[in-house]
Amino acid sequence: MREPTGPPAIPPGEPLLAVDEVSVRFGAIQALDRVSLEIRRGEIAAIIGPNGAGKTTLLNVISGFYHPSEGHIRFEGRDRTRLRPYDVAALGVARTFQNVALFKGMSVLDNIMTGRLLKMRGSFLLEALYWGPAMRQELLHRAFVERIIDFLEIEAIRKAGAGTLPYGLQKRVELARALAAEPKLLLLDEPMAGMNVEEKEDMCRFILGVNDEFGTTIALIEHDMSVVMDISDRVIALDYGRKIADGRPDEVRADQGVIDAYLGVSHA
């Protein structure tokens, strides 16, 4: 698969992504309130919290879709708070979306190939001719995308229209599209939503596989606590736009603030 990456270009100990006192307002609503966190290379971090806590907003601000009213975001040590979304993507950040943002008018294969866009160098003139350099490039990328399709076990549906797929498969295709960009940081917004136990197990397997084999750093928003406990190295909890806990899964699970806000107490 992908060649193992060499030694990191930045001093070890520097986090891959640093969110520093970031605030986001929508009119009167404070969606994020001076949130600070770090995501370190190679780890799987889970972001949890009740609905409306600001989790998706956090991912959106990292993606560059919103710009924070205060605070900074550093990726690989450099400040990139004001970048446009496509520039953030070019840095190596890929993501999936809460409501599955597949391109319904295209096939699964084309959707995943779209994920590959950042790696495609081309001029439209060459592509108008197709035969020659453009075709060779297209086939190269097709070969890479097919490896992702193999990895996520979606060979059978590669020509299907993305809009015709059941929800669980759509989420898997979305993951494939994100992986096609060979990202350094993968942001997943509720990748297990609406899945049954088997599908969740498959998804966990894929996520762990991506982290293991490619060394991709992963941050995911997730509501299913058993999944969170199982696969994450670290858990960050948000509530009303503020960070209320940050640490190892078992630490966060035991944190009183988190229990009050989100987890609740079991009455055995």
Binding site: F65, G115, M120, A128, A134
Partner: protein, 358 residues
């Protein structure tokens, strides 16, 4: 059964991504091309060439252009007539200023000029979406036509306000002008539209087409994935306008002979939009099917009552034409929003299984 593709396995990605992966398709297309190039000029009479086939090919090219912009890239445009006008007038100015220029080159240069104009009018598309953009393209439509009307330079100061295609030869064959025969003009239009269709197909099945469709389907997600919206939309406007500009040049030089701005008014914009909707948004084949359909409706309406022995006054025919167009648009959008192209696909699916029902 006829259309069964069992046994045709693809062992390389290259063959999977070929233009016509299925053997039956290759046969049919081969036959169609042979018929179009060889049989038609021999068999068809003047009326069919002049009134049906030549305008069909020209409109198909314009529909192709609009389909790239609206069907693939999702940018609604009501300015097609205006862009065709740019092509027509640009070709006229080029041929009158450079009498030695090959007229086919003039067509292409006219397309290039139109592409630049399209680029300018496409700039608002970064801020404006959906029907707002349609209104912005209306600005292009009305402004351009007003410009060509008012500024006499565009018509070489002709008192009649019309532009006339000068006679030009290519390899000693008269291609434009009163002496150019219908078969020659037909073949010229055919060559252009075939070439452009190939280019369009190549673009839409590759990187450019995918970035267009991504913007069309979910522009925000596309941007977050790395698609650059302005660049993508501007490319769509430029290429689409190029197509429409060449179509406009052909419209004057190969079909009308001479034209005023009225030939490019808002009705043309609507007509081409109808072709694209009925034919199928986001389909190369659909552009052809839609153009054929729209060109045939008036012919049908003229000839059928005649065949049935009914006399229909011209005004009534126009009214029924409007009603039929309007009604068909609604019917298509209800029954098959993806147009004739999808119906064709469904027919092929059925052919795959025929004579079995499922």
């Amino acid at each position: 059964m006829i259309y069964r593709e069992a046994g045709q396995f693809k062992s390389t990605y290259a063959s999977d991504q070929a233009l016509f992966p299925i053997r039956q398709d290759r046969v049919v297309v081969g036959l169609a091309v042979a018929a179009a190039v060889i049989a038609v000029p021999l068999v068809a009479d003047e009326y069919w060439l002049q009134a049906v086939l030549i305008p069909f090919l020209i409109y198909a090219l314009a529909a192709l252009g609009l389909n790239l912009l609206t069907g693939y890239a999702g940018q609604v445009s009501l300015g097609t007539g205006g862009f065709m006008a740019v092509g027509g007038y640009a070709a006229f100015k080029l041929t009158s200023a450079f009498p030695g220029m090959n007229v086919l080159v003039a067509f292409l240069l006219a397309g290039l000029v139109t592409a630049l104009v399209g680029l300018v009018f496409g700039l608002p598309s970064l801020r404006i979406k959906g029907f707002y953009l349609a209104v912005a393209t209306l600005a292009a439509q009305f402004f351009l036509l007003w410009l060509f009307n008012k500024v006499a330079w565009f018509t070489d100061y002709a008192s009649s306000g019309t532009i006339t295609a000068p006679p030009r030869t290519v390899a000693s064959i008269m291609v434009t002008g009163p002496a150019a025969t219908a078969p020659v003009r037909y073949l010229t239009a055919l060559a252009f539209v075939a070439l452009f269709a190939l280019v369009a197909k190549n673009l839409v099945r590759g990187r450019v087409g995918r970035s267009w469709m991504a913007i069309r389907d979910r522009d925000i997600a596309a941007e977050i994935i790395g698609v650059r919206p302005l660049r993508t939309k501007l490319l769509a406007f430029a290429i689409s306008s190029f197509f429409c500009g060449v179509a406009g040049a052909e419209y004057v030089f190969l079909y009308l002979g001479s034209a005023e701005t009225q030939a490019f008014d808002i009705n043309v914009s609507f007509l081409v939009l109808f072709m694209v909707i009925i034919g199928g948004l986001g389909s190369i084949l659909g552009s052809f099917l839609g153009a054929a359909f729209i060109v045939m409706v008036p012919i049908f309406l003229t000839n059928v009552p005649h065949l049935l022995g009914l006399a229909m006054p011209v005004a009534l025919q126009k009214q029924i034409e409007l009603m039929v167009f309007g009604g068909l648009i609604i019917a298509f959008l209800i029954v098959e929003p993806h147009g004739l192209a999808r119906l064709w696909q469904i027919a092929k699916e059925k052919l795959r299984l025929w004579p079995f029902p499922y």
